[in-house]
Point group: C2
Amino acid sequence: MTTTHGHVPARRPRRTDARLNRERLIAKAQEVFAEAGPEASLNEVARRAGVGPGTLYRHFPNRSALLTAVLRDRIETLCELAETLSSSESADDALTQWLRAFLVHARVNQGLGGALMVEEPVTLGLDCHRLILDAAADLLAQAQRRGTARADLTADDLVQLVVGIALSTARSHDAEQPDRLLTLVLDATYGTPLQNE
Amino acid sequence: MTTTHGHVPARRPRRTDARLNRERLIAKAQEVFAEAGPEASLNEVARRAGVGPGTLYRHFPNRSALLTAVLRDRIETLCELAETLSSSESADDALTQWLRAFLVHARVNQGLGGALMVEEPVTLGLDCHRLILDAAADLLAQAQRRGTARADLTADDLVQLVVGIALSTARSHDAEQPDRLLTLVLDATYGTPLQNE
DNA sequence: TAGTTAAGCGGAGTACCTCTCCGTATACTA
DNA sequence: TAGTATACGGAGAGGTACTCCGCTTAACTA
């Protein structure tokens, strides 16, 4: 088959102009999403990156793919944070800290992260959704074994609740509200039915 | 000054065809929103109602107005429910029951109600948003005075949290999840650190 | 009942969107 | 340097929101 030496495909490396365009697209997408929210015009992204719409859609077949790319770094950071925290002293604190970080992430760019968590499972369900859920599950399990988190409580529910906070406060004027709401959720996470203390 | 007798405007009553069209539009809008969610095409609504887009937009100047009209009955019912409940035995139960009813409302038609609560304050902020908030404030205040609801806790926060549940679970496959999440929030609303029981 | 009038209607029109297709240009390889 | 796979750009199809304005018609009036 053409230029392949072994029987492993070993495709040509990506052309540098393609790589550059891809990077520019992601950078401009971040800008545009920050200004106009997750429903922003993809044409506008292409325009600002100085490429045609066709180029944008070849690199990112749909909106979700672009959103994912924009958030990729942040998601990886979040997963690393989960790993770091998972070996910390207090399992409860680890979960708490991570959920706070996740809320910040989900609220970035007018709820872009939150929007992605809701849309993606429908569109192209996996990847970041799975990564986030696994990280949460790990920390929650620890907080249930070694900490004081309620046993009835799934990672999915917890994440969904935080995503909800991100979405409903995406356009809120009260900058403190997201944190207050998360604190409330955390109060429910620990405590209620356990009467030790 | 044409046909006015007194100096109060006293405009002609609305033409019956206009009234009928309005009703048909609302009915069809409910249908369409149920099928396609709150982002559904308004052109489609007009088409199904058998009117031109111009007619739709004269009756409802923007999407929000149409959403509000569709949910109007439900909102009024919700406010009446709040009034009824507010004179019930247990203030805690009253709040709980009302929040459950509100969650159902907010989830109707793929999160239409929830979407409205987030969009509306930006677009045309008042009316149903205000009504809901007042109802919630009343019940919460009672639950704080006569019941066991935490004193630090505003109606706005509580409502926002429930709206968040509605939004994030709008496309969830798990039909029980919304209720589970609300239960969690209620656990935080009453009691956490109270060790009676 | 016929005439007058303004309320209301419809749909063409503008400007935007998403996403596809394909002829052209170009970076890499040999 | 030549050949080629890769990537580009933008026209175009089909959708959306929303506006404008000439025509229709319900409702009042005499």
